[in-house]
């Protein structure tokens, strides 16, 4: 379900310091999000494709992720061309298709996919653990990073816990349908999961205090910046600056 599919690899991008990747991703994605200039987005798409090639990620998996990311876009294509108004390219008595609606949908589709590809290439090539520590290294609040690292650590455990309860329900012939009984059962199962995780949280906290936890998590691997990191940072920032320049001219 939630495997870090892209995080394992030996490409150049996998070896770059996560802090550097976050900074570059921040600028690149930020520019794409605020611009509405087709040239800028097309160039950004080219940059993200280069990054993807450098990262040597499995193409089918990336395509699968893109499909998931495009669900909202699909919804927009169904509605925007029909409801946007403005100049019409096609009209029947039932509906009409607007020119601006199509342009806007196309722009949004390009932007979304460019951003998602950039994030896959830059951020999904790091593990969540190293992203969490990198965010802390970038001076984000320590507690927020703690929250990220620990909730990630326990999502799997708690999901297993829920699945165990729902397996037990299934064995007792529970069949989900659209009725109150189903909603009640699901609510009770989830309530039980909440109770279990609440108590588990208290036990983990005690166990960590016993082991001398003082609010600071120590990463298992420490990364020293090397020349590759600096060069990559420089290239990323140059590309971002070029896109900003294009946006304003």
């Amino acid at each position: 379900m939630m495997d870090e599919d892209f995080a394992q690899g030996t490409s150049l991008l996998h070896h770059i310091d996560s802090r550097i990747k976050i900074v570059v991703a921040f600028f690149l994605v930020g520019i794409i999000a605020v611009t509405d200039n087709f040239t800028v987005i097309a160039l950004a798409l080219a940059v993200s494709l280069v990054l993807l090639t450098v990262a040597r990620l499995p193409v089918t998996l990336v395509a699968k992720r893109l499909v998931a990311a495009n669900s909202f876009i699909f919804f927009l294509w169904l509605t925007l061309p029909l409801t946007y108004g403005g100049e019409l390219v096609y009209q029947t008595s039932l509906f009409s298709i607007s020119h601006e609606g199509i342009i806007l949908s196309a722009l949004i589709t390009l932007k979304t996919n460019t951003i998602v590809l950039t994030i896959i290439a830059l951020l999904a090539t790091s593990t969540i653990a190293s992203l969490g520590h990198a965010l802390e290294g970038l001076r984000l609040p320590g507690r927020l990073c703690f929250l990220l690292l620990f909730s990630y650590r326990y999502i799997f455990v708690i999901h297993q816990e829920y699945l165990r309860l729902s397996r037990a329900a299934k064995m007792r012939c529970f069949q989900p349908a659209t009725n109150i009984h189903t909603y009640k059962t699901v609510a009770y199962l989830f309530g039980m999961t909440l109770v279990k995780s609440y108590n588990r949280g208290a036990r983990i906290h005690q166990a960590m205090l016993l082991r001398g936890f003082n609010g600071h998590l120590i990463p298992l691997t420490s990364h020293r910046m090397n020349r590759n990191d600096i060069v990559f940072l420089f290239m990323g920032l140059t590309a971002s600056a070029a896109l900003v320049f294009l946006h304003f001219t």
């Binding site: 806007l104 659209t178 949280g201």
Partner: protein, 200 residues
């Protein structure tokens, strides 16, 4: 449903980001390292809630339970929702990182509303608790869809049609969330009252 990357205009993105930054700062201030472990576990649990699908007619919807999160966590719901959405954006590419501010505000503001309005009612026994819990689930989704529609409509007036559709699409979800929140709260009030801050 979350708004995905590249849809909203920059003023809307910045407003959402600012609200989330303030909310998260306040939320983190209220969490010390004694409480944070519980909040991390609850964040993970609410993330799991979004993986639970309940049937509705021929299709199914996944749970959100923002209202419940609000009454349990208070201001802590801001960092919790932010974390959950970050993980969702990285894993499933639902929502996204540039819109994370807007999406967090969309869920956390109604959750906070539930915390202030319905939490006192939850402490009552009997029907009042039932009604408060139902309203909690119902209104959190209603307000979420309204904020989402507002974010879309202020981006571009052409999005008005989409915005209306967003609200309409959330209507059945409001009722289901209401029912499930109600039963979960009733269950919790019997099994572990201190979880809801009920001093039985």
């Amino acid at each position: 449903m979350h708004i995905s990357e590249g849809v909203l205009s920059s003023p809307v993105l910045f407003t959402g980001g600012a609200i989330t930054a303030v909310g998260t700062a306040v939320g983190l201030k209220s969490l010390d390292y004694d409480k944070i472990m519980t909040v991390a576990m609850l964040t993970a649990t609410f993330f799991v809630a979004s993986l639970i699908h309940v049937p509705i007619g021929p299709g199914n919807v996944h749970l959100i339970l923002g209202g419940l999160m609000g009454i349990v966590l208070g201001w802590g719901c801001f960092p919790a929702i932010l974390t959950a959405l970050f993980l969702q954006a990285i894993f499933f590419h639902y929502g996204g990182l540039t819109v994370i501010g807007v999406n967090t505000s969309t869920m956390a503001l109604p959750a906070l509303f539930c915390y202030y309005i319905f939490r006192p009612w939850i402490k009552n026994n009997g029907n009042k608790r039932k009604i408060a819990a139902f309203c909690c689930g119902f209104f959190s989704i209603l307000f979420s869809s309204l904020i989402m529609a507002l974010a879309l409509a202020t981006t571009d007036t052409g999005f008005l049609g989409v915005a209306k559709l967003v609200i309409a699409a959330h209507l059945p979800l409001m009722v289901i969330e209401g029912i499930i929140t109600m039963f979960t709260v009733l269950f919790l009030s019997k099994v572990q009252p201190e979880f809801l801050g009920i001093g039985d």
